[in-house]
Symmetry: C2
Subunit: 324 residues, 2 copies
Amino acid sequence: MKTIGIKQSGGSDQLYIMERDKPELGKGNLLIKVAATGVNRTDILTRERETDEPENVRLGVEVAGTVVEAHNDSPYSVGDRVMSLVNGGGYSEYVTIPSDRVMRIPDKLSFVEGAAISEVFATAYQTLFWIGRLEENETVLIHAGASGVGTAAIQLAKQLKNAHVIVTAGSKEKLDFCRNLGADVVINYKEEAFDEVILAETEGRGVNLILDFVGASYWEKNYNSIAMDGRWVLIGTLGGTKIPHFDIFSLMRKRIQLTGTGLTPRSDAYKAALSQELITKTKDLFENGTMKPIVDTTFDFEDVKKAHDYMEANKNTGKIILTL
Amino acid sequence: MKTIGIKQSGGSDQLYIMERDKPELGKGNLLIKVAATGVNRTDILTRERETDEPENVRLGVEVAGTVVEAHNDSPYSVGDRVMSLVNGGGYSEYVTIPSDRVMRIPDKLSFVEGAAISEVFATAYQTLFWIGRLEENETVLIHAGASGVGTAAIQLAKQLKNAHVIVTAGSKEKLDFCRNLGADVVINYKEEAFDEVILAETEGRGVNLILDFVGASYWEKNYNSIAMDGRWVLIGTLGGTKIPHFDIFSLMRKRIQLTGTGLTPRSDAYKAALSQELITKTKDLFENGTMKPIVDTTFDFEDVKKAHDYMEANKNTGKIILTL
């Protein structure tokens, strides 16, 4: 079968289409013929990471496709349309996945839309609810609001908890898009100091939860923006990782919970539990069109280099999907 | 009535006995004649904190005593033996307290023992369970194991969650004491690198939860000691607060939850909910003697200066109590 590999670690020019054996079905697993697979920042990190065994690097962490073979103890059948997180190797014609992690694609949605759900909605769900413990009517700050995770987080926070949603992004188009998804307050970080806007908006109280994809360069402004007993979740480091003058008393003064997280390296059991809770809570909303997977662009599988370049240029609003 | 005030902010020589009006009963409140009141580090911080109004400084955050007046909507009656957190002013002959925060003193325990429960057991309970989410059979590292909060935390972690309890302290006597309370592994931080002992003890996995009273000077060793998905709770800064080279990626690599907390400045509702959950979970254990408030020394109310000096010398194993 076709899959995407790297010649060696490095830039997008290292990506190439290669042949690999079709995977074999194990106990409880499904064999999926992949129709669409999402591009994620973690794929870029995987591509760049130093390795002595480039031939073993497996790119791609989510797929949508059709069940073509099912172990007899699986609740799914041949022909079912499914979407799922995978532990690498999603950029392939076929993948095998444990049944307990798979989600049915809501009837209304295409494979491309299905491929835009697993990673970003699961990441946003985990961050907002499992780690961030967002409660009804609380205020949440979502940086990179127009990103894949950002667009998922805006909808989940708004629709599941009626949260007061504040987002940052770098252009009017992106901010308008976020507002249409439900964001209450949108801030162009290039034009305004987001902490000042937030303190004005919240009458000095600050936000209860921050989804932080940025890290070091926003550190002080995030600290200024967070409320007493706030939860601050680190899920990306686009703005660096080194904090020059960190005083732990600052965390005690505001009783802050600061948590680093990630989804890809989590256990199979964790991914299964998260996926099942996510689809249970969102299925009806996807079916009736209230919640939407946000797809920016699709690329042919063969154009994976273009897809990576596009993501690295931060041009997308929502997901980038490869189709097979 | 007698109470303890400060002449101005500063050392223990600023403490003195003064007269103040007996407080008046409000709706839902109880008037308590104080028999014993605990000394806590927060009292020392309050004593030292700069203030323009030393006459308004109220010392003491926990009491044990007898109900002498009860608002008619209170479930307590005159004569009941109770213990409670108070919002300052515990170093007094009388205090008023909202009924929903008060706990009955278990029958077997004296007033002195009752005064040794509220602050340290509530702090340890909050830290271990509400913030640290300690689960059955997990491993917890408790620094300053022989301190008031430390001795409470060892017992709570062991008896409520059968945790694997690792403690640090600075003398053989203190470590033996911790072991008798249930600690599984005791480490003299003056003689051993605690992170190395912990990694050896846990086969390299590290601990699931750290109760950190120390802060900066233990920072790196704590980081080395914590497991993937570990929770790290900052409840004291005896070793300073400034971290010179903080890299937030370290939190993401181990998916750490780092939380600053404190009990004294929390809301009345929080203190009430915490106190009620604490006593519900521990009442039987205190009654049958399995769980014990640990009292190091009692001082007469008039000897408050000696009591503060004793605490500041880190000589105590367990609580220091003032009696009236």
